[in-house]
Symmetry: C2
């Protein structure tokens, strides 16, 4: 095993629930993997059949996108753009730069970073030259970028698609190609200040996206480790017990305890002691109380974590976000690379799946809960150093916004709302009620474009006025500039409000200002 053998990816624990998703699917249909294999074989055979052609020997295409992927249609793109704008504005308000990396990395760069999830990595075919894989997250490419360019300070965001050969559940916003949206602060700074800013950012974004009430759970890796130590968990079981604790948001304590005792081999006593701690929730007060805890206060790791937690809450107070942030000892996040603060944001309302197949409904209990997680992250001070030939460390803290889930929620909201999503921004359609005015329509449209007005014209010589008005109604264009013989003679344009149907003659010279005024 190499130096990075213990490293896994931030998002696959908790936030996107990728790892638990695999478990769920095997719960849902007892022979899950076999079913999925059958699907894949069927797809292969169908494709082969299509290639061989039908009766006429004619070539038939399979008209579909790859499994677990989707096209974005214009309406989905409009929603995506709106969500991105809110998130990017927030990142920019906090002074972040942005970078981009290639969609594939040397296979070597990804190898050994994702533990058992490595089997979900897409490899490229060996066509000669380097061996390549599609990126699995944005954190490993970020660490590679910092080490490669010897960057020790950066506050950057990166929004891009990542790829996982996972069992897709597209109805719940889980795809094989999906966006990640990461914000990270790298650099050696005074304790908890950048960490507090990350939480402020999550708070701002969830507020502005207007997804309903939410909570942000906070914990610290060192508190968890200290807690396991004082409860009597053997060192070598920290990791596996950590991932059991991580299931507390989906399972009752009784079941978690059973797993600890029956599967992981803890004694009942030890499990009960853990149970007492992980039921605790609070704020700065809880951190202060635990610093007085006779057992925890004896553990160096726990004390360091609790002292930082106290400091973090004092900054969160200044940032006015403590109404939504909870210090929660049950938050574990299974990832290995976290070294300090960890956090996860959860929507309070459960989001119903858009469409549920019977198979998926069997797992509805688990799925219903996990849908609530929409952001997560933490501090990872060791990852960049693992890429550096000399092991130079660059402390990092960051957060990943669960953007695909947010898209799904926004799409459902748009679906449920009576308001129509516009897919263009066109302000005015240049139209005519009479024949033979194509040239005049094109001339006016051209003048509007030159003045920066968003304008359309139908590509027909003599379109009917009705079809021109219909186009406006269908696409939400608010104004029509109507030309006729009389208007041309008078040097005016008839400006019509599509919704109110009110019309007014506007002198040609005032038209641009009038359109701007009416489409602010």
């Amino acid at each position: 095993m190499n130096a990075l053998g213990l490293v896994s990816t931030r998002l696959c624990a908790g936030l996107m629930c990728r790892r638990s998703a695999v478990n769920l699917s095997s719960l849902r249909f007892s022979s899950g993997m076999t079913l999925s294999h059958i699907d894949e074989e069927v797809a292969k055979l169908l494709q082969l059949k299509a290639q061989l052609g039908g009766d006429e020997g004619k070539h038939v295409f399979v008209l579909k996108t790859a499994k677990g992927t989707r096209d974005y249609n214009p309406k989905q793109m409009a929603i995506r753009e709106k969500v991105f704008n809110i998130i990017i504005s927030c990142f920019k308000r906090h002074g972040a730069e942005t970078i981009d990396s290639p969609v594939f990395e040397l296979k070597e760069t990804l190898t050994g970073k994702y533990g058992e999830d490595s089997k979900l990595i897409y490899d490229l075919k060996d066509q000669g030259g380097e061996l390549l894989s599609l990126r699995y997250d944005l954190t490993v490419p970020f660490a590679r970028y910092l080490a490669m360019n010897k960057i020790t300070n950066i506050k950057r965001y990166h929004i891009a698609k990542v790829y996982r050969r996972d069992n897709p559940a597209m109805t719940r916003g889980r795809y094989r190609e999906f966006y990640q949206c990461d914000f990270d602060i790298a650099g050696q700074y005074d304790a908890m200040i950048p960490d507090a800013e990350c939480l402020k950012i999550v708070y701002e974004i969830l507020n502005e996206l207007d997804l309903g009430d939410f909570r942000i759970k906070v914990n610290d890796r060192r508190i968890l480790d200290g807690m396991f130590a004082v409860c009597g968990v053997p060192d070598e079981k920290f990791r596996t017990i950590c991932s059991t604790v991580d299931k507390l948001d989906k399972m009752a304590w009784e079941d978690v305890k059973k797993e600890m005792v029956n599967e992981k081999g803890l004694s009942e006593d030890v499990a009960d002691r853990i149970g007492e701690y992980v039921s605790m929730q609070g704020g700065q007060d809880l951190a202060e109380r635990l610093l007085q805890d006779p057992k925890l206060s004896q553990n160096k790791q726990a004390c360091a974590g609790l002292t930082d937690m106290k400091l973090l809450f004092s900054y969160l107070e200044l940032f006015q976000v403590t109404d939504k942030v909870v210090f929660d000892l049950s938050l574990a996040r299974g990832l290995d690379y976290y070294t300090g603060v960890i956090y996860e944001a959860i929507l309070s309302q459960t989001i119903p799946a858009l469409v549920s197949t019977p198979a998926e409904q069997n797992g509805a209990d688990e799925a219903g809960v996990s849908v609530g997680s929409v952001a997560g992250g933490g501090r990872y001070d060791g990852l960049v150093g693992m890429f550096d030939p000399k092991g130079r460390k660059v402390p990092c803290v960051g957060v990943s916004i669960g953007i695909e889930r947010i898209f799904s929620i926004m799409e459902q909201k748009a679906e449920a709302s009576s308001e129509k999503v516009r897919t263009t921004e066109t302000q005015v359609l240049v139209a005519s009620a009479q024949k033979n005015l194509l040239e005049e329509r094109l001339k006016l449209t051209n003048a509007l474009w030159n003045e920066g007005i968003k304008a359309e014209v139908l590509y027909k010589k003599n379109p009917k006025l009705l079809s021109q008005l219909q186009h406006c109604e269908e696409t939400g264009i608010p104004l029509v500039a109507i030309l006729g013989e009389q208007e041309l003679k008078d040097g005016v344009v008839k400006l019509r409000n599509v919704v109110s149907r009110e019309e007014v003659d506007v002198p040609r010279a005032d038209l641009v200002d009038e359109i701007k005024k009416r489409t602010l």
Copy 2:
């Protein structure tokens, strides 16, 4: 061979000069392919060596991006964002929607679309399930999207990365992962109106990007075919002669003629007749003159093309773009799927390569010229029908902006200019000259964020004023809000202009307005 065997991709002819690039590279180093193979083998062996580790048996990482790809650093991202904003604004001004498609398609969807360039397609490894390939352009996914969703009308743009296992020449903006930026109008409309809008769009974008003078060459596939017919080119040689004519922007007529006669087997007479036509350039007048040409006027195809060319120029006149558009009979664009108008935009000034290796300099003549091509496209009325099981046609016309080349030019301009490219939009840094004011700085920063001001604060308890001012100078932050004991007592903030060093006390209540006023 299947029904799509003759289809190739729009961009590989002319615009990105991918196909000719392959030819060039084999010109440049006579054993070009062998050299590139050696490179690849060396890379493989080095990676293997790194994996096996050095003397200490320690794992060493190869810190690089995949061959032919690059990261975008924050400065490059700032330029990319600026270019995208200009282009997207133009598309939106013309009423376009946008769509997105997955980065990989079923291999089957791409097979047989790109002729001999198919060898440049990246395949994914067969890990079970469907066989997949990375998209090679955006036109085939667009056609697949239209056919799959039975869409017969759309005006859409799509900006996304595409992948080609080509011989990269990154110093000239040629990568294996690169952006394409396509605008297309699909639908059955009256002749030449959407075609004229595509040219208007190219004109607007090149003007706004401020890349210097440019020309847009226009021709029509039917005119070319008609011309070949009346010159006596046998039908089966149309395609190959067309791709020879396409070289006229890189080769002298004498050499093109030699290729026609010696390699393609035309008689001298036939070649000379072609030579007469392809030297012709003009506007609407040329189209009218050729409609009177005793030979061409006898050819149905040519007449249809010339009539449309006349009509196109009448619309271009209304769109006020004829100062840059030239009807040029030598423009061929090698692609098979064009069925009508074709066009290509060329920058007048030659762009020098940022860095040239000796090998690349050998091909400098060809490269220097081809760098000028920054947009191209045309009408392709048959492509979507080839995807439709019933062969239903959806006429399309579109244009692709050569965005990577534009990035390269903009980067060189930024490099050459004294003006610094900002990578953040931060308006103000909250600073202090005295110790123990971290809480006050965080409180003020938080207040500014809440008011929508883009603000930063250094993550240090007691940073020096000098280092705070330096941060502003390095990153271009125009204002500093300075807090001190006195200011706190007086309820003011000292607002400092970083460039002029002028300072003024602003009452706390007026601070937001004052910052907004000064950073419009």
